[in-house]
């Protein structure tokens, strides 16, 4: 018997079928968790977001429109939930009212980063964290999740051109962030 595709699973989930949710989870939970982790850069928060996302999938599977892919829909929920979580965190920050432009960047180490790449990854992720929301979304989906640009455009409900423009700005912002926060990297590599 062939395995059901994601759409069929979502139909079953809408009918209250718990094993279907389990199967969908086994297929896409790492995408959801990894995207959330790239956003919030904290494992506990990423777990909470993943939990929220799958609860939302369970509750609103019936409202899924078959116009897009299931993964596109789930990515959209993940991005929105992550942005909401970040905003909550910013509001919680003690000095957020005093210095709204300064984001408190978490000291994040990707769980699967090699020891020798720890520092590079830390600086890289903190530069990603500082990006504005839309640039961050375009960058994370394109370069961390490695999704095709067309799917990124669908997730963000933007045109392909707008996504390309956001990516250009994100790269520029990252370049500036990397050179200002990590000025000795080139010299260290050259030794």
């Amino acid at each position: 018997m062939p395995e059901p595709n994601n759409r069929e699973l979502l139909k079953d989930i809408a009918a209250g079928n718990a094993p279907a949710l389990r199967m969908l989870y086994s297929r896409i939970s790492d995408r959801v968790y990894n995207t959330a982790l790239s956003y919030v850069q904290n494992e506990a928060d990423a777990e909470e977001i993943t939990q929220d996302v799958f609860t939302k999938v369970w509750r609103s599977a019936g409202s899924f429109k078959a116009e897009s892919q299931v993964t596109t829909w789930v990515y959209r929920i993940t991005v929105n939930t992550s942005i909401t979580a970040l905003k909550k965190r910013e509001r919680r920050g003690l000095f957020s009212a005093l210095s709204p432009r300064e984001k408190e960047v978490p000291d994040f180490h990707h769980p699967y980063a090699l020891m020798e790449d720890w520092e590079t990854n830390r600086v890289l992720f903190s530069a990603i964290y500082r990006l504005p929301d839309r640039q961050k979304t375009a960058f994370v989906l394109s370069y961390v999740e490695e999704l095709p640009r067309q799917q990124v455009a669908e997730i963000m409900s933007l045109s392909l051109k707008a996504v390309e423009s956001l990516l250009m700005r994100a790269k520029k912002g990252l370049r500036t962030g990397l050179t200002t926060n990590y000025p000795y990297r080139g010299k260290a590599n050259a030794k």
Binding site: R22, Q51, G186
Partner: protein, 100 residues
């Protein structure tokens, strides 16, 4: 020459993207699915809380009873007033029938 290129922004960016490509997708911890299923169960239980239903029903009954009482007392008062009005009117009419 090479050192200059390494501090150049372009090189940094390419290097950064390579770093990202090297990273495998992080997977959620093994117990998370169980937690999600438990939270879904809790949410569903929240949807039909019997106690709340009973309280809603009691509040609705009370509201209906209050309305009925108010309406009855209003009708009673209105009919009494009407009776009073008509008797006083009759006496007025009978007392001041000047042209009969």
């Amino acid at each position: 020459m090479r050192n200059d290129m390494k501090t150049d922004g372009h090189f940094e960016m390419d290097d950064a993207l390579k770093q990202l490509r090297k990273l495998p997708r992080a997977a959620p911890p093994p117990g998370l699915l169980r937690r999600i299923e438990a939270s879904i169960g809790k949410t569903e239980a929240k949807v039909i809380p019997m106690k709340q239903w009973r309280m809603i029903a009691a509040a609705a009954c009370l509201l209906v009873a209050l309305n009925v009482t108010a309406l009855t007392s209003y009708l009673n008062t209105a009919s009494q007033q009407m009776a009073q009005y008509s008797t006083s009117n009759n006496s007025l009419i009978s007392d001041f029938q000047l042209y009969e």
